[in-house]
């Protein structure tokens, strides 16, 4: 979800909310349409409508969330428990627990449950999991989530089992035990092993690695019947999956069909009309703006619209390397001068998101709420002017780098007008999204301010803080857009990543969150919301703040 894809996803979400600006700025409570969970009924054929025209079925190449498409047929060592009203949790999937760390936190041991089988009836062994991880190192199979690659010992040099044989830092002393040796102590390893690369792949089915993704061997409740790029992905039940070994998947529908490459507007219209097979469908893409406003006057459709609670963070990055933004007082002045209310209106009002004052996103364990720069919804211009005076009234003429999407520009204008009130001139520079991405992550960093948003790839505060504020992430493709470098914070990040006791790690992350904002390298603007629509027979459809996406593993159909 993070990095590039989330940026475009974010832009769509925001576009979706835009149409509501004028008429609905204050409508919709946080819980609108959030259907509650009920017992799972078995049977029926679920349809998932999506604008994507492809699905990457090879786990090595996939960057799917644990609770979406690949989660239906690829089990991993751990998975995510995503339930309404609860923070996300790592839970055992193929493994009996979420992992046992050694005292130094560098060695993690897992045991597989007994009775696990692939869709072809053969047993799932620890070697299959090891092989799945190893093949993700092959450059020929790159493209997936690869957090493990730099964490596993010797991972930097290893190029996959096809040319380099075994990876010694993964041991399989017996068929049900797997041991990982890491470079550093890493407390979030239980999250890492929930990623697609940690799904078992039988070596015997991988004679042609490039074609494995066309007929992946299933370990979950469903198996792939057929996949037609640009058309459909059809899943049916895997007879060799055993519910008693699986706590995260309820496997309600008998069949699941993904309709690929669907026009978002037409798909939303179909779901609003809710006739025939569309009753058994939901839309995996965000509801487009026109339909969002249309739904507001349609009670039936409105009852089937699910808007997430506030999730991903939208923020203004301040390049601390550029004068006079290297002055803390100037950056603090920006914190006060920004008009978050205007920014919220630019994204469609409260259905688009809630104002933010912190970094860790809601829905993630350990998050603490606080406000270091209390300025009310629309900012505190006097306070900002005061701080600028203290800083010697530097001449402030700043460039703001944004993506050239109409909504991004609208958001940039809200920032521009807010800062202008304190005498800060902002020039908006909009770039096509590829160019924007290349510029903000380059070594050069030729901008004063940048608008961005962030949702972590896995629900740990680690995913919020480290990629955005560790000094190792400045330039060279890293996403530390503020180019913020503070030894004390690097140290906190290192300690928190290493902590294997979740409670201790959470405390340290919360501490890092606050410590970073004391230096004001970013202005937190908004925790964003996503809206989804489903047909009237669809049950157990909910969207939690993290990952602000429906949990496919629990969705079922009523009879």
């Amino acid at each position: 979800m993070s990095r590039r894809p989330s940026l475009s996803v974010a832009a769509v979400a925001v576009a979706a909310a835009l149409a509501l600006t004028a008429c609905n700025a204050n409508s919709d409570s946080d819980t609108a349409g959030q259907s509650t969970t009920s017992s799972t009924q078995k049977g029926g054929e679920l349809t998932i409508l999506t604008s994507s025209s492809t699905v990457t079925l090879d786990p090595a190449k996939s960057s799917n969330l644990a609770i979406t498409t690949l989660g239906l047929f690829n089990r991993r060592l751990t998975s995510w428990e995503i339930e309404p009203g609860k923070t996300a949790q790592a839970v055992p999937d193929l493994a009996t627990d979420t992992g046992t760390p050694s005292d130094d936190g560098k060695t993690w041991t897992y045991h597989l449950k007994s009775g696990l089988k692939f869709s072809d009836g053969s047993p799932i062994t620890s070697q299959d999991v090891k092989y799945g991880v190893e093949r993700s190192f092959a450059p020929e199979l790159s493209g997936g989530l690869g957090y493990h690659k730099s964490l596993l010992e010797d991972g930097e040099k290893y190029q996959g089992p096809y040319t380099d044989g075994d990876l010694d830092s993964i041991e399989t002393p017996d068929d049900t035990t797997i041991v990982f040796h890491l470079n550093v102590s890493y407390g979030d390893w239980p999250w890492i092993v929930s990623m697609p690369a940690f799904s078992p792949v039988p070596k015997s089915a991988d004679a042609k690695p490039q074609e494995y993704g066309q007929h992946p061997v299933s370990s979950g409740p469903y198996q792939v019947d057929s996949y037609k790029e640009g058309s459909t992905l059809s899943l049916s039940r895997n007879p060799n999956w055993d519910q008693s070994t699986d706590e995260v998947r309820t496997a309600g529908p008998d069949k699941i069909t993904f309709q690929l490459g669907q026009d978002d507007t037409v798909a939303a219209q179909k779901l609003i009309a809710d006739s025939g097979d569309d009753k058994n469908a939901f839309q995996a893409s965000f509801v487009p703006p026109a339909q969002l406003s249309q739904i507001q006057s349609n009670a039936d459709a409105k009852s089937r619209l699910v808007t997430s609670d506030a999730g991903a963070l939208a923020y203004l990055a301040i390049n601390v390397k550029h004068k006079p933004l290297d002055d803390l007082k100037v950056r603090q002045a920006l914190e006060y001068a920004v008009d978050k209310k205007a920014f919220q209106i630019a994204v469609g009002g409260s259905i688009g998101g809630e104002p933010a004052t912190t970094l860790i996103t809601p829905g993630i364990a350990g998050r603490q709420d606080y406000d270091l720069y209390p300025a009310g919804e629309s900012g505190d211009v006097d306070k900002a002017k005061q701080l600028l005076a203290d800083a010697g009234n530097p001449k402030l003429s700043l460039t703001l780098l944004v993506e050239s999407d109409p909504v991004e520009v609208l958001k940039a204008q809200a920032i521009q007008q807010g800062l202008k009130r304190a005498g800060i001139e902002v020039t908006i520079k909009s770039e096509e999204s590829d160019a924007w991405y290349a510029d903000v992550t380059s070594d050069k960093g030729d901008y004063d301010l940048a608008l961005a948003s962030w949702q972590p790839d896995f629900p740990s505060a680690n995913g919020n803080i480290q990629p955005l504020f560790a000094s190792s992430e400045i330039g060279g493709g890293g996403f530390n857009l503020s180019r913020y470098s503070e030894p004390e914070v690097d140290d906190l990040i290192q300690q928190a990543s290493a902590a294997t006791d979740p409670a201790q790690a959470e405390k340290l992350w919360a501490q890092a969150d606050k410590r970073i904002l004391q230096d004001a390298p970013v202005v937190p603007l908004l925790f964003k919301k996503n809206s989804f629509l489903h047909g009237s027979n669809v049950q157990n459809f909910f969207v939690t703040p993290f990952p602000a996406y429906p949990n496919y593993l629990k969705v079922s159909l009523s009879k």
Binding site: S53, T54, S142, G143, T163, P209, S275, G477
Partner: protein, 333 residues
């Protein structure tokens, strides 16, 4: 003899156009700041990982080298990477999409039935509809028929396809529930369903384009009907039907065929908006997707293929032209 030389000359210029287009597409992509390897680098994308991905895909070589590799691949196929995990793309290899994990040739091949079904059906419809309306309007010049046909033409020309498409879906799909609103059914699966799913896209495209043809045909017909040889034909005592339908129409069709050729060629290269609105995955949506995700090999392949179709259509027009009017190949040979 002259005719053969004429055709050979056309073939050579076709090839030249294709080479220029492929070079331009390459150049444009290399001027952009984005790195095609970035999209296949995975997350987190470390500098090492990026270099590895880049080397595997061949994006680390200078642009001209990449272009030559591309051209060579068309004739003898290509491989990327090493060992059993290497990617093979057999000749004719028009590149390999690392994001979709398929050879570009295969991707295009799979999309052809969709786009061709849309394009050929719509083209047949608009040609018949447009020409008949135009002839009718010209013959009944100044009457209510003429005025309503031309009013229709103005309306059709002014309404954008996406608007017509969405209105059509709303009215015939949702409100009247007459036709399916999206999706494509292969002809081989069920010819009836195939046609049933295509009726609306055909009509929408034809409505828009036939308007252009109606205007063109009317103007042309009015001009031709003033010609001396038409007066001669009438003087010979031929029926009006024969005069208009045989002597006049043949000449009217020459410019119509020219426009039709390039229109059809363009449409075969992908009816981007129509495909999008009706959720049909043809060549147009493939190109749109490739551009959106920065998939250079796929962009190059689809652009080249679309260009090939346009060039081919123009070639076909030249041939038909020769048949309709022998003077064409005589003089330009």
């Amino acid at each position: 003899m002259r005719r053969t030389r004429f055709l050979a000359g056309r073939l050579v210029s076709m090839l030249a156009v294709l080479v220029v287009i492929s070079l331009l597409t390459y150049a444009v992509f290399f001027l952009l700041p984005s790195d095609p390897a970035q999209m296949s680098c995975g997350k987190p994308c470390t500098p090492d990982g990026l270099a590895q991905a880049s080397a595997f895909m061949g994006f680390d070589k200078p642009w001209w080298q990449q272009y030559l590799d591309f051209v060579a691949g068309i004739f003898r196929g290509r491989s990327f990477g090493r060992g059993p995990a290497a990617v093979h793309c057999s000749a004719p290899c028009f590149g390999y999409s690392f994001q979709l994990n398929q050879p570009v040739t295969q991707l295009i091949w799979a999309r052809i039935p969709v786009t061709f079904s849309i394009a050929i059906g719509a083209a047949a419809l608009w040609l018949v509809l447009g020409v008949s309306l135009g002839v009718l309007a010209a013959v009944r010049k100044g009457t209510a028929i003429d005025r309503s046909a031309m009013a229709f033409a103005v309306a059709g020309v002014s309404a954008p396809v996406y608007l017509l498409g969405l209105l059509g879906i709303l009215l015939f799909g949702f409100t009247l529930d007459l036709v399916p609103v999206s999706g494509y059914v292969p002809l081989t699966e069920s010819p009836v369903d195939w046609a049933w799913h295509l009726v609306l896209p055909w009509c929408v495209l034809a409505l828009f384009t036939s308007a252009v043809y109606a205007r063109l045909t009317r103007g042309q017909m009015l001009e031709v009907l003033e010609e001396d040889y038409i007066r001669t034909a009438r003087a010979k005592g031929l029926t009006e039907r024969k005069v208009v339908g045989w002597h006049a129409l043949r000449n009217v069709l020459i410019p119509v065929v020219t426009v039709f050729g390039s229109d059809l060629g363009q449409l075969l290269g992908g009816a981007i908006i129509t495909e999008r609105v009706f959720s049909m995955q043809g060549l147009g949506s493939l190109l749109l997707q490739a551009v959106g995700t920065g998939d250079l090999p796929l962009v190059l392949g689809t652009v080249l293929f679309s260009a090939f179709l346009v060039v081919l259509a123009n070639f076909a027009v030249d041939v038909v032209y020769g048949a309709l009017d022998p003077r064409v190949s005589e003089t330009s040979g």
